[in-house]
Symmetry: C2
Subunit: 418 residues, 2 copies
């Protein structure tokens, strides 16, 4: 145990452990060892998720108590998962003879807005954490949760613990934010879908942001946005293997940067179509404003003008489909005094390619469409940016699409150990 | 949903639901119905325990993470159980179209001392609760937990939700505190042990306090102490049957009050014996002070002087046996520079008779010993008070002892429906 000190003589490092990393007491003891080991070179500040399976268990209970309910009670319910994990982790560290203290969001001052289950961090107090570090205490902070101005517990959305970790790293001006997870690195595609996917050594914030927003589950998108904003280097690595993973930072070293760095997919996407939208744009603006207010992220939007009226289609995360349809129908009925003709597509998926190299290589989008066309894969919605191309395609074509794109953009691993 | 009002026109009633009452979502919906139904005649303020099994699950995780650990992390861990229950109950009530708000101890200001896992409530703020009631919101408060002056979560010990409920009732000057549980009333003995046990209609605080301290699981002893201190009537009743249970209050109506009102037992007791205690009393005082500081309740104490020195025996709750032995051994070695010869007995149980009528009937203790002697049941430790007689006996004789006492003191049900 350390004596009390007045200044910190080693860098602060935030270490975030995901659900699988703390998925059992045995794994929690493993995390305790990683944290204690890092005391040699750093002052670790730990952020933990709920034990794997726990959040799903709580969501299932909530669905049974009040289907589709969102509100403060829901956030309070879900936040209990992290509470259990940090308490157990603090105990596991104390068992090894080190001091650790578990903190909930309200105890450490992780202030958020009041958007239930999709809150955003506004401010983090650092006094208590710094005091603990100086006293040789390892702070173990609950990820995923915050507290609003009325002392309600809020949660940051699935995967929000990454965001907690990066925000804490930014507030503490930490050297780096290490995200420990159950994969050794970020891959050029999901290896379950594309067996030849390879590990990526370095990525820019921009690329990682696109990948996260396009369905890569490795990092929560808001965490990458925050990391980019505050210049916090992220290191994605395995909690089960002691080796380097993927660094996500401002700019990458690799001169031989490929045009496309990854193929990303999102099976959890759905499409809402409105077939009888009256002409005019005010309705559209109001619809998307309403959806945004409820925290529903609309992804790809497509609008077509036909003789019989405007048609609108947009994609949303599948878990928001029900709420999106309800909001759309209510607003439409209220504005146009007739029911909307709404069609939904839930057997769809999004496949995307991402790479900062695309900026200097025109024609990437054309190549993307050609590859899918060659496989006879229909495209329902499409969107592009400077560094990505995405398409909504039938779910059953997802694997074929991802594999063809991965091969065509030269991402396949050269040799696979057998 | 109610409009905002300025004064409360119906009595406030605290309703506490135990673990089995909220043991599944179906049961939580049942509780929601009971609460909503009571809006007609009362302003219900709800206190809930963790879903049954949950606290045991958390205790098991803690034991695996760090055996015998007690400290703030442990309290944080255990408090998560009530958090889940109140969030789900609030959702279930909202589903029926009523407003409910779940509150954790720190959100409502349930202030305690800082004794980990056996904290005592010092103060409860009522402003928010009263504000909610006036706004037609049903407050759903986490039982079992509090917050100390450093914002640490504390817990009140197993069964502590009863204490939360009575303390809240006292703070609100509520009409009554209804304790909903899985039994229809308090019985004259545990029906599993004594099949002829009968329901008790009314009990005094004194009797209930003795019964609770002697092992009756129906109410947490501290809750009865508080109820007596603040004159809060307690109504123990079933959450599964709509009928009166047992009222616990200052004095009872029944003129034909029996001498003994119940036979109580505690299978969860253990004995610590020290066989080489040097003469003198300072060591004893210090030992019991140390045990008290750790929150270990020493029950029966017996001291004998033999030619070879003092012998001391005392009983403690079985879950505290390990800690009691450790504290005793450490203190003894430190004071007397030699190891204590400690013997423990964990295959023992306590059987007791309780009744305010004993005050006016001398010879009850003698009768108690005669009944046990007739059954050839040895007595290891014994203690009496004005209204109870207790003995530590072998576990295997417990049922025989309880049944003989119940019959001998005329407590058997006159006719059992068959």
């Amino acid at each position: 145990m350390k004596d009390k000190i007045t200044t910190l003589d080693r860098p602060i490092q935030v270490k975030k452990f995901g659900g699988t990393s703390v998925g059992s007491i045995e794994r929690i003891h493993n995390v305790a060892r990683i944290v204690i080991e890092s005391l040699k070179n750093n002052y670790p500040v730990v952020v933990a998720s709920a034990m794997s399976g726990e959040t799903n268990r709580l969501v299932a209970l909530a669905e049974e108590a009040f289907p589709h309910y969102k509100g403060p009670a829901y956030d309070m319910l879900l936040a209990s998962g992290e509470q259990v994990a940090i308490a157990l982790l603090a105990m596991a560290i104390e068992r090894q003879g080190y001091k650790a203290k578990p903190y909930l969001a309200h105890q450490i001052g992780i202030q958020t807005d009041n958007v239930s289950s999709k809150a955003r961090i506004q401010h983090i107090q650092t006094e208590q954490i710094l005091k603990d570090l100086k006293e040789g205490i390892i702070p173990i902070i609950a990820g995923f949760q915050g507290v609003d101005e009325n002392f309600n517990i809020t949660t940051l959305g699935r995967g929000g613990s990454d965001t907690s970790a990066v925000a804490i790293a930014a507030a503490l001006k930490a050297d780096a934010c290490e995200i420990y997870t159950d994969v050794p690195a970020v891959f050029s595609a999901d290896p379950r879908l594309v067996p030849l996917a390879k590990e990526i050594k370095e990525l820019t914030f921009e690329e990682m942001m696109e990948m996260a927003s396009l369905g890569s589950k490795v990092l929560h998108i808001r965490s990458v946005e925050l990391a980019a904003k505050f210049g916090v280097k992220i290191h994605v690595r395995s909690s089960f293997q002691e080796r380097e993973g993927t660094w996500v930072m401002d700019s990458v070293q690799n001169l031989e940067k490929p045009v496309v760095s990854s193929v990303t997919h999102d099976a959890n996407t759905s499409v809402v179509k409105i077939n009888n939208l009256p002409e005019g744009v005010s309705g559209l603006a109001q619809l998307f404003e309403h959806l945004a207010q409820k925290g529903i992220v609309v992804d790809i939007i497509s609008q077509t003008h036909l003789p019989e009226g405007q048609r609108l289609a947009f994609s949303v995360p599948s878990e928001d489909l029900y709420q999106a349809v309800t909001i759309t129908q209510n607003l439409f009925t209220q504005m146009h005094k007739l029911p909307a003709q709404i069609e939904t597509m839930d057997k769809v998926a999004k496949v995307s390619i991402v790479g900062v190299g695309m900026r200097n290589h025109p024609g990437v989008a054309a190549h993307f469409f050609k590859i899918l066309a060659k496989q006879n894969i229909p495209i329902f919605l499409v969107t592009t940016s400077e560094i990505k191309v995405s398409a909504i395609i039938p779910s059953e074509s997802l694997q074929k699409a991802a594999q063809s794109l991965h091969t065509a953009f030269s991402l396949d691993q050269l040799s696979k150990e057998t």
